[in-house]
Point group: D2
Chain length 342, copies 4
């Protein structure tokens, strides 16, 4: 931690900062220089010390800025966990060296629609089936999902097809219910900092698929993962799904593919990209899915609907079965070319 | 609703859109012209029709863009509820023509710290006392609040001082607990689209203080309010607390004061501004609080700590008691000058 | 300057950074600690050393992050120029303690339209008259201004009315032309980092009114001012005019009023706010202009048109004469209440 | 064009809008319905009519919102120019079906440094050599480039190596000078809306490489291209180089790869991606360059320095010769796999 003092900070102000550091049992290192003084704290800080110091020193007079010189996350960091995490869900491996596709409709709408979706996913070589039962919708007047009925359909269809299933859980008190039916718990972008939900998902021990919030920084994203990890659950999958767009008139969000190599460098967790929500436009999903693979993602999540024109939600971003199958062929070829297992 | 077709859209594509509209029992109005055709739907749409049409038509070929010509919220809108909402909480009026200050520390830390805070709020003419018991923290290693113990302190101190209390609730299943102890339920910025929470807060009937998410559009904000309102709870207070900053190195967020007149025009709900979180810097809180009043806000929420240097959270944005009392004097003078009741 | 090394950086990598610092004739201070080593450079750096070091060290292996502990601007900074700048333009004082209104139409359209504008500005107690002659327009097909003819009208009308004039200059080679006719050179938001223009405006010695770019950080803004100041021209006026909006559907930009106290703290230069471009909506101009005054701005720039319905550009954000005069009355009352000279 | 009236707009207000439309010689189409009335203008509008109407109607009472149903650019649009543009620069083809790499250092620093750069570019199969002579720098104290001396070096080295050259021009009055020495004129991100520069670059007839501004929407970007095209110069190359980042602590900008398929759909112009500025970090350049190719870009611009540790600018984002050559091999393999000519 480095504390930069204001230009003209008095000797007393510098001493007050040093005292605050000493009160935590640490040794301050005063660096007079340039136009201002900086004060370093070279020792290893516990999380508590780090937090307490930042709060206390931030309120002292003469302080210009407090800068952390280490990243705030630990369990999610490559620095403390050098081996890449590979998560095994019923034999499907997610992470380092594998490339997984999670396909299926935005919402589970009926047994017929969902089993047809599963058939297409399976036929095109897929292993993970997605579908929403509890739908977070911006408007209270939009279709909210089939809820538990949808989960039941998902469980049965997944088992029949031999596919791993993933569905969203929106609150901590529903983790138990959703975990009963599905293999991977999805935490949506709007819930990335729903801390009670993160904690319950952590306690469940189930694999957790965590989507980045639309304005979340990398540190905020990895700290959200840290909430799950710190409950003793190592099975966290990170998902980039687009950040706030400068321009919402051509795409719904801005898919931030450059976070893929960043996350792969700073964290050992698997990284998946969702180009369907990331762009919101079916015809951009293919190029972005392939770009994600090439950029180093461990997989993609793709929305497909047996009949997008009849979809109850997000029809404009869902691929048709033909488009989906064609994209799967492209991705498999590209993965082989790159020497990536799929 | 207006559907703009692509340039060169075929007659068949235009007909397919018209058919989709007719299937909802509505009449399409084809506007040939400029370089492309547009198709209007002039009838009144129910929420369901609106949503269904947008999804279905967005997936049709030849469609360039679907534009809604009316706003998606109803209950929150001035257009359908012309009288300004005034919420009465134990005799304290919030909304149109009144100016309220909600003051207190970031966190309830102890009975002593909190009752001292209450004394200062009361002494400076305040009516509402804030304080966090359950704290949403970006890092799992930060102080998480005193939890139920904090709520008990809050209730007792509030009653002793004769102040209305407000505290944050972070999940739907905790609404009952928090509602037992405090007068106003706060929903934080990170929870703005926690839909199960919005619904439970709606059902509780308690006044709900809803903070805008850091990248929420005005429509998304008012639709979040709509979730609460649609449960039959008319007591929603909107709070602007800063949006994602272009530059986090001088302020924590960008306080978007221009949303104040926008919200006052499009909605009848009370609008409060939180310059403490909005700037994250104690010395900018005063100017921004006064600017909020002048811009038309119905109140401000201000963090104050009896001793910011000892605060367990957010010390750098809390005012000292002296700064707080001085700001209260300024605000009261300004409110009088502007003819606003405080 | 602080260099944070990666966790696990080798002794050789740390030495390479130290060597690079020594090659600039400076002394590195190695701070082993926490999970990683940091290296401080406590001496005063010249701008050249600062820049060179950042570039060179950023390319070395094992380096995690280079952080500057001092701000990059000098001449614009309060730290090196403690007295607030007051600019005197033909007797009109701009800066510290004064509050100035710059009013007038978006574009100079005709002698009649502009002299009528001047009459209203003068009558309502104004001192500075604005109007565009060379108009930067997003589309090449939009009205581009009357150009030199507009400047001639401006000069004559300004002199007749006894008002100081301000108009935009869009390129370095036109500084001479515009400076011949107007009193203050305006540099638009899109030109904030047009460095050849900044340098020519600096050389002209004329007062320069510099608008913040729509995604400019505070440092970038003050460094743009630094370009003008470093040419020996101390007469720079800063203008906030709105940053990129999260939501363009209610306002054109997000007016960032919190930059007002930030700029007043870190710089000695006058700060003006333009709520007309900042919101893009006439009915929000008044509340935001008053909020700017209360937040500490040294003035506002307001668009007014004798007949907004006939305006050739930006009609939707221009006030009518009646609205303008009423706002001037409000601002003068508020300035008096606050003890600010107008 | 569609004008959406406010709910409760009066008959007189609706008539006033209709009259304004008729005064332009156009026929309004009134669509009563939903909660509000909309008014369509179905005829083909000239650019002037479009602009005039938007300005005038935006100022009328009772108007809620004016929406354009067609895109504002014409010459840049696929809708009016169906064939993809291929630009031939001294035999090097840029655009549709070709994949070009523009490589070289941030700045031309010396004949030796630049000819060594050229040798590496040539050896690895490259055709276009980049290098800055006039450098736009955020700080006036940073290295500003060798200026005309740099251009002379560039011209000689380019001719000796048989490479096409590209360098930045920062103002309209310098177009002639730069055009004398280099083959392609680069317009930087900060100059994207430097309209006098765009016009002069258009008049020069030289190929123009236009970088997207850090907060530019797609429409603003294509309208900037339209400025060049409307001068009769069809040789415009679009370049995505990263937009304003949510988080500047891991990458300098957010590279917006999803604009690649958007631009390829809506425009016929070639699209290049610059991952060096887009990320600002050498080790992310490779993954992002490959992702750009896969996403459909017509080429990439890559910074490489014979010795990044000695670079005078942007050393931290430049590849070493080894990294550059390795990336070229990867890109060529990937292009062959995808059936793209390089």
């Amino acid at each position: 931690m480095i504390i930069s003092m204001q230009v003209g900070a008095t000797h007393e102000q510098i001493e007050a900062v040093s005292d605050a550091i000493r009160q935590q049992g640490l040794e301050p290192l005063v660096l007079p220089g340039e136009d201002r003084t900086a004060i370093g704290v070279p020792s290893a800080l516990s999380a508590d010390q780090r937090d307490t110091l930042e709060t206390i020193i931030g309120a002292l007079e003469g302080v210009n800025k407090v800068t952390q010189t280490s990243r705030p996350y630990k369990l999610a960091s490559t620095e403390f966990h050098r081996d890449k995490t590979i998560i095994d869900v019923k034999g499907v491996k997610i992470g380092h060296g594998h490339f997984v596709v999670m396909g299926g409709p935005c919402s589970v709408e009926s047994h017929e629609q969902f089993s047809e979706s599963a058939r297409i996913v399976k036929q095109s070589g897929g292993t993970v089936l997605r579908g929403g039962a509890f739908k977070p919708r911006t408007s209270p007047y939009s279709f909210q999902g089939l809820q538990e009925e949808g989960l039941k359909i998902m469980k049965q269809v997944g088992e029949d097809a031999g596919l791993v299933t993933i569905s969203e859980v929106m609150s901590g008190d529903m983790v138990g219910l959703v975990a009963k039916y599905v293999d991977i718990l999805q935490i949506g972008a709007r819930s990335m900092q729903n801390f009670p939900l993160l904690i319950e998902a952590g306690k469940s021990g189930k694999p957790v698929f965590l989507k980045r919030g639309p304005s979340a920084t990398t540190d905020e994203f990895l700290l959200a993962a840290e909430y799950v990890l710190s409950q003793g659950n190592p099975n966290v999958i990170l998902c980039e799904r687009g950040v706030m767009a400068i321009d919402r008139s051509y795409t719904r969000n801005t898919l931030d593919l450059s976070i893929v190599p960043v996350l792969k460098e700073y964290s050992h967790l698997p990284v998946i990209v969702d180009p369907s929500h990331g762009t919101g436009v079916a015809r951009y999903v293919g190029p972005m899915a392939k770009a994600a693979l090439v950029a180093g993602a461990d997989g993609v999540m793709i929305e497909m609907h047996p009949n997008p024109k009849k979809a109850l939600s997000d029809g404009s971003q869902a691929l048709t079965p033909e488009q989906y199958i064609s994209l799967m062929t492209d991705l498999q070829g590209l993965a082989r070319y790159l020497g990536r297992a799929s």
